[in-house]
């Protein structure tokens, strides 16, 4: 009982320290530094999404960039319209559409290019936000349902999600009269949060992103601590046993996969707010795989670990890459770290930290431990 509590205390302490850390950043960084760091926080959110899907639900999603990209584009659609003026009609028309307009087309969103009608509802920025969450949720639900029904194994899930992100990337690049293709969406307006314009370089914007990350982290942590979260871990461990206890494996996987996708969608929204662009590079396979590396290094079975892994690796990477010679070295170092983690630290740096804390705590509590052990009907100590 004692070191289980201590283990809990250690975790709680880590959460508090992390939250205090991200909220104290404005004390140390100038506006450019803050803006850059707010993007790392968004990556941290992606780390949480990966950890939830991979570490807890056991679904290795190599296409998490799909949900991130959809979230980013949905937000960018709205913010692009907010920054566009009309082209003689009533609705605002993004500049790239004017260039791509069909000859003699009526200069309205509903008709100016083939498929441009999709943009019409995005004139409301909250519609953009809603789509950024809803579309990833629906897609993730469909993917998890289809794959779960047909009981394809993990490797295939990874391959199929990978293929999906590739497919969507192709569509985005191909349909440039609707998406602006390769160039992505730039010159975006600021998000208007109930009257507050979110200037990406303002302290308030950083704090809002930090707040969003905190909420996501706590909600995810709460979800995995519920009974449903426990059952999910059981499913990850042994689907057969879970089924034989009456749990519908698909339902649990769908639920947590959908939550993970919505977190990635929200990350896309926040990234666009902070970075003021959306681009098909979000849908690059390399980016999706990089996310998995962040989570693996930080510790996929730990939400906070994966989150810190994403923030830490990006922070170190960006710092080093200011010197050009170090930039290439960093790629190599990340590669090496990843290999070390895969081979010797399957639970990532978070696992290492928790083991170290465990050893330290257990030694300190040895006497109490024995006392508790000898009393029957008290809970036994966790050995990990």
């Amino acid at each position: 009982m004692t070191d289980m509590l201590s283990q809990q205390n250690f975790e709680r302490l880590a959460y508090v320290a992390f939250i205090a850390f991200i909220f104290s950043m404005p004390l140390f960084l100038d506006e450019f530094g803050l803006n850059r760091f707010s993007k790392y926080l968004v990556y941290g959110m992606l780390g949480i999404a990966i950890s939830l899907a991979w570490g807890y639900a056991g679904i290795l999603n190599l296409g998490q960039g799909l949900f991130f990209g959809i979230g980013a584009y949905a937000m960018a659609f709205s913010l692009k319209l907010a920054a566009s003026s009309t082209a003689g009609g009533k609705t605002p028309i993004p500049d790239f559409m004017v260039v791509n307009a069909e000859p003699n087309a009526i200069p309205e969103l509903s008709s100016i290019t083939t498929g441009s009608w999709i943009w019409v509802p995005f004139q409301s920025q909250w519609f953009g936000v809603a789509m950024a969450l809803a579309v990833p949720a629906i897609l993730a639900g469909l993917i998890a349902y289809t794959l779960g029904r047909s009981r394809v194994s993990g490797v295939y899930v990874a391959i199929i999600t990978l293929a999906l992100v590739l497919l969507v990337r192709l569509i985005v690049i191909d349909q440039q009269q609707v998406t602006s293709g390769f160039n992505g969406l730039t010159d975006l307006a600021w998000f208007n949060l109930f009257g507050l314009e979110l200037d990406p370089y303002a302290k308030s914007t950083y704090l809002i992103i930090a707040f969003a990350l905190t909420i996501v982290l706590l909600i995810a942590r709460w979800l995995v601590s519920t009974r449903a979260g426990l059952v999910l871990q059981g499913i990850r461990d042994n689907e057969v046993r879970a089924r034989y206890l009456g749990y519908s494996v698909v339902s649990y996987q769908i639920f947590f996969f959908v939550v993970s996708a919505m977190i990635a969608g929200l990350a896309g929204v926040l990234y666009v707010v902070a970075a003021e662009f959306a681009s098909p590079t979000f849908l690059d396979i390399a980016f999706s795989i990089t996310m998995v590396v962040w989570a693996a290094v930080g510790g996929r079975a730990s939400l906070l670990g994966a989150c810190i892994g994403a923030i830490g690796l990006n922070f170190i990477g960006a710092t080093l890459s200011e010197t050009e010679s170090l930039m290439n070295a960093w790629q190599l170092i990340i590669g090496l770290i990843f290999i070390v983690v895969v081979l010797w630290l399957p639970r990532g740096l978070a696992g290492l930290a928790s083991d170290l804390a465990d050893r330290f705590v257990t030694r300190a509590d040895d006497s109490k431990w024995n006392r508790f052990k000898s009393v029957k009907h008290t809970q036994s100590p966790a050995n990990r």
């Binding site: 059952v231 871990q233 059981g234 057969v240 034989y244 009456g246 519908s248 639920f255 966790a382």
Partner: protein, 253 residues
């Protein structure tokens, strides 16, 4: 005997593994509250029969009935919810989780996702679980990862999880395999205690054990019901002896 209500039954049940019929026209009726022993040589199809009843393997012919309702080829979790629980021949628990977590998941009256989110998870073990933990002598291992338990303890953990799950029908596939003498004795005790409250189908080779607990034995051979009767009838059956010829004999099948 015929007045008793049938708990579950299989009728002409078959499965075809690419031409090999591991279960081939099997018939079996088990009465409510009965403890039925299933005997048969290696490869007779006992485990496969349990796979078919519980939905893990889909049959290619015949029916499975639960309280006169057909449940043939239902999904495993639905069959489980209908009241059939199972212990596997090779221990099947949540290895990466602690013993405590294993028990908590086995407490599965509520299986839907959303209610399980609202409910949160227990800090303290509910009484009915604590009793089972004590019965299975796992109190000192509650915080232990199941993977590190001994073979016998893992078997007991799985049996304990079944007790917590508390299904009407229990399928036990060689519950004492790999156990020490003490563990075997204790397992027999637990099973005897379950008799009457649950309907049990158990694959068990220990004839002393079988003699002490069971009224009716069903012998399976080549995927079929070869013989059914009391211990004495089965031990003296020429048919059964012929079927076991070549294998080590009835006690060591």
């Amino acid at each position: 005997m015929d007045e008793r209500r049938i708990s579950f039954a299989v009728k002409d049940l078959s499965v075809d593994f690419n031409g090999f019929k591991a279960v081939n026209g099997m018939n079996l009726s088990v009465y409510k509250g009965e403890l039925r022993v299933l005997l048969g040589a290696n490869g007779a199809g006992k485990t496969t029969l349990m796979d078919l009843i519980s939905g893990r393997t889909k049959s290619t012919g015949g029916k499975v009935l639960l309280n006169d309702k057909e449940i043939t080829n239902w999904e495993e979790h639905l069959i489980s919810r209908a009241g059939i629980g199972r212990k596997f021949q090779i221990p099947n628990v949540f290895k990466e989780l602690t013993v405590r977590q294993n028990f908590l998941i086995a407490d599965c009256k509520e299986t839907r996702v959303l209610p399980n989110i609202v409910r949160g998870s227990h800090r303290e073990l509910p009484d009915h679980i604590a009793r089972v933990v004590e019965l299975t002598e796992l109190y000192d291992f509650l915080g232990t990862e199941a993977a590190t338990l001994s073979h016998g303890q893992t078997q007991w953990l799985e049996i304990g999880m079944l007790l917590v799950q508390n299904p009407d029908i229990i399928l036990l596939d060689e519950p004492t395999a790999g156990m020490t003498a003490h563990e075997t004795r204790k397992t027999a005790e637990i099973i005897t205690r379950l008799k009457g409250r649950h309907t049990i189908l158990v694959v068990e080779h220990d004839m002393a054990f079988v003699r002490s607990i069971c009224e009716t034995i069903t012998v399976m051979h080549h995927g079929q019901n070869l013989a059914e009767g009391t211990v004495t009838e089965i031990e003296n059956s020429a048919e059964v002896q012929a079927a076991y010829l070549g294998s080590a004999g009835i006690g060591h099948a």
